[in-house]
């Protein structure tokens, strides 16, 4: 198990020295900061308060500042969730294919480490990058909104947290694809495809578009095993805005983790038997 952390640590070290990755993070931070400080966000403070964004009210003028700002925090949490996942797929797609490159993989496999440890190390390392990224994004948004509105809330971190949960499944698919076919492009494409499928195809409204009968049943069965990212996003938003958490959301969280675990198991199974 110690080797898993060593490999994850090496991957983090490698990621921290990737200039394009750091540059992209910096660019997003600067973009966010510019947008944040340009926002017209006013809070009329008092026992009862209202908030205005871009000069318009939220329709909840007479309430506490925390309650008035809930929609803003919810939007921020949703942004962290969505953009975090997109950034994660884009930035992490080549870690596994690089590690599996000729001349590197046989060197690693000749070391006294188990193949499963190597794969789990990569998975853990990438998830650690995701957690760092989500924490960073949450901190930036919290700081911006806190400075602008004077209301400090940790709620935005919920969006980042749910993005990390979703990413466990997304990266598991990317990792498995890299084990079968060593290609960062394919890995990223499958990551985006799963994001799309989990955010759009699994919505019940979409199934309702099919005629009831075998077509709808077939479609529902086809998407049944896919993780429900839209529910995870909603969970993050609900947590950020003090909304109600329902059992569907929690089931979706568990389902996503199980789906990710299954994909990692598949990757390990193939990796164990594969010649390099």
């Amino acid at each position: 198990m110690r080797n898993v952390w060593f490999i994850a640590g090496d991957l983090l070290q490698e990621a921290s020295r990737r200039r394009w990755l750091l540059g992209m993070g910096l660019a997003i931070t600067l973009g966010g900061a510019l947008l944040g400080f340009a926002l017209q966000l006013d809070v009329a403070d008092g026992v009862l308060a209202g908030a205005r964004l871009f000069g318009g009210s939220f329709g909840n003028d007479l309430t506490t500042p925390e309650a008035a700002l809930r929609p803003v925090f919810a939007t921020a949490a949703t942004s962290v969730f969505g953009f975090g996942l997109l950034f994660g797929v884009l930035s992490c797609s080549d870690f596994a294919p690089t590690l599996f490159a000729e001349g590197r993989i046989e060197h690693l496999l000749a070391l006294p480490i188990r193949r499963a440890e190597l794969l789990l190390g990569v998975y853990a390392g990438v998830l650690a990058i995701a957690v760092c990224g989500a924490t960073y994004a949450g901190a930036v948004f919290t700081l911006l909104l806190g400075l602008k509105s004077g209301v400090w809330s940790w709620a935005i971190f919920a969006g980042g947290g749910m993005a990390c949960v979703a990413f466990t499944a997304v990266y598991a698919v990317m990792l498995a694809s890299a084990v079968f076919v060593r290609s960062s492009t394919l890995s990223a494409a499958l990551g985006f495809a799963l994001l799309f499928a989990g955010s759009a195809l699994t919505r019940p409204e979409l199934a309702a578009l099919f005629e009831s009968g075998p077509h709808r049943t077939l479609f529902t069965a086809a998407v049944a095993c896919l993780p429900r990212f839209w529910l995870l996003g909603r969970l993050g938003t609900a947590a950020a805005s003090g909304g109600v958490l329902d059992t569907d959301m929690l089931r979706a969280t568990l389902g996503t983790l199980v789906f990710g675990g299954g994909c990692v198991m598949l990757a390990i199974w193939e990796f164990e038997r594969k010649d390099h």
């Binding site: 490698e14 001349g103 046989e106 070391l111």
Partner: protein, 304 residues
């Protein structure tokens, strides 16, 4: 004890989707005694790298067995005793030389990773470059660093694929010296090199792998030595006048002679007569053919 024992090893490439299977190794049987230096020789595409990968458990045999120190090569405890240098070691370019070695040492379970990494960097002549990123390293420097990574932890078996590839002549001499030190320490060497002269200098056993088959294998002396041709050197100030009459052919240097086409018994008989006539023998050795000649001889039937 054998450090490596390969029995009837077969490796086929091409899965169930492939139109045809390619047999990379065809019933290879090989034994490498512990403490020896074994050189694997063969043309391109002979299956040398495949054999090396099978020894390390990187690929699974289709048939047959591979045992390293009498155990499966995929056994973690066996791989702890192996140092491996691949032909084209692909290293993370963002790492420094020291960070890379430290990482490998940690994964090898070396007790003091930093100290060992520093020591091996010193041995391969890269200590001054330990803080440089690998992206800035030349091919020769990468090769030396790869050797340093193989040496980490003092392995009992060194499996080296083209260890001197891209290294300058001075560096090659350094690598040879390191490999001699490792042998003196008791390590077994398994060397795959296209540079036959390097193999001749380092190895005491060789195996010729052609088209996936081991066509000849054994001690260097057995394979390259000629039992009917001997080189002799007699003391210059002794009576060498009658040697030509006994069948010894004079060589280029003073006192040097060759005995061609005689058995060991005939040679001893002639030597006894030479001594009686006052000639004093200083040196006697079977004539050695170089590995290139033996390789061509091994491959000749296939070419025909």
């Amino acid at each position: 004890m054998d450090a490596i024992a390969v029995t009837a090893l077969v490796k086929d490439y091409g899965g169930w989707l492939a139109r045809s299977k390619k047999r990379a190794l065809d019933h290879v049987t090989l034994r490498v005694p512990a403490g020896s230096a074994f050189g694997l020789i063969g043309p391109n595409g002979a299956g040398k790298t495949t054999l090396l990968k099978a020894l390390l458990g990187v690929i699974e045999p289709s048939e047959g067995h591979v045992r390293v120190f009498e155990r499966e090569p995929r056994d973690v405890n066996v791989r702890r005793r192996i140092g491996y240098l691949p032909e084209r070691l692909n290293m993370p370019s963002a790492f420094t030389a020291l960070a890379f070695l430290r990482s490998v040492a940690r994964l090898k379970g070396v007790a003091q990773p930093t100290e060992d990494a520093e020591r091996q960097l010193e041995r391969v002549g890269l200590h001054a470059e330990r803080g440089l990123r690998l992206g800035t390293f030349s091919k020769g420097m990468r090769q030396r660093l790869g050797l340093a990574s193989a040496l980490l932890g003092g392995p009992d078996l060194l499996v080296l694929d083209e260890p001197t590839d891209g290294i300058d002549p001075k560096g090659r001499a350094d690598v040879r010296a390191i490999l001699q030190e490792e042998r003196a320490r008791g390590a077994t060497l398994f060397l795959n090199s296209h540079l036959l002269s390097e193999t001749e200098r380092i190895c005491d056993r060789v195996g010729f792998l052609v088209a996936g088959k081991v066509l000849r294998e054994g001690a260097m002396l057995e394979l390259c030595g000629d039992t009917s041709r001997f080189n002799l050197r007699f003391a210059v100030d002794s009576q060498t006048g009658g040697l030509a009459a006994l069948g010894f052919m004079p060589g280029d240097q003073a006192g040097a002679y060759t005995c061609v086409g005689c058995s060991v018994a005939e040679l001893n008989s002639k030597l006894a007569q030479a001594r009686e006539s006052g000639a004093m023998l200083v040196e006697l050795a079977p004539q050695m053919r170089d590995l290139e000649a033996v390789l061509l001889e091994v491959m000749e039937p296939r070419r025909a």
